[in-house]
Symmetry: C2
Amino acid sequence: MKFSELKVGQKASLVKTFTDEDVRTFAKISLDTNPLHLSDEYAKTTIFGQRIVHGMLTSSLISAVIANKLPGEGTIYLGQELRFLAPVLLNDTITAEVEVAELREDKKIAKLNTVCTNQDGKQVITGIATVKCSQ
Amino acid sequence: MKFSELKVGQKASLVKTFTDEDVRTFAKISLDTNPLHLSDEYAKTTIFGQRIVHGMLTSSLISAVIANKLPGEGTIYLGQELRFLAPVLLNDTITAEVEVAELREDKKIAKLNTVCTNQDGKQVITGIATVKCSQ
C-alpha cells in the first residue's frame, strides 16, 4: 500500500496457532533454547507451570501483518516496541492486529499500534511499530 | 543468574550466521512471506538490491542471549524495544550483545542494552530489553 493510501484507524490482522513444532523450530533458528519453551519437566517448576511460546516468535506474527497486509509490500521496518504482558501457551491461537496510529507525511513514516490477543480475548503482547513506506 | 549477581556493565553475547534456510524456515513459522526475504528477483527491485533477513529473526538472537546467558535461566522477558538500523543480508554473521544498563532492586527488574552488529562491525539493530529475574 502506498503511504498516500494509509489512514489513521486502518486495521489488519493475521491469526495463527503456535504449535510445539513451531516452538522447536524457532528454538533451532534463534538459538533460544530456554527449557521454559522446550522441557515440560522444567516448565512445571516455573511460575508459568507449563511450556510457553517464545515472545519473539509470537511477535513475529506482527511483522507478518505489517509485511503482508498493512502497509504491505514495500514497507521498511524501522522499529518495534514490544511489551510481553501474558504468556502464550502451546496451541494458543493468537491474533496479531495492526492499526495505523500516526502518519508523518514528510518522511512517509507511520506509527502502528500492534496488539497480539489470545483465543480468550486476552492481550498477550502490545507495542508500537514504526515503518516507512517506499512509495 | 540471580538478580543479586547482576551488575551494571556485565555483558554476554552470541554469534550466528543467518542462512537462506533460516530465512525460509522463519517465513513459514512466522507467516511473514514478504518477497523481500524470499525472492531474489523481487529484492533486486527494492532499495536493498538483494534479499534481507527478517528483522524479527535477527532480533531473536537477542532473546537467545537473554534466555541462555544474561540473566539466563529463569529470566522473564517483560519487554523489548528494537530499532532496525541497517539491513542484515543472507549469510551475514551477527553478534547479539546484551549489557546490563540499569537495576531496579525492589522489583528484581533489569534494563539491558541490546545491540546486534554484523561482521563488519556495523550496528544493525539496537534496543533495550526489560527483564525480571525469578530469583
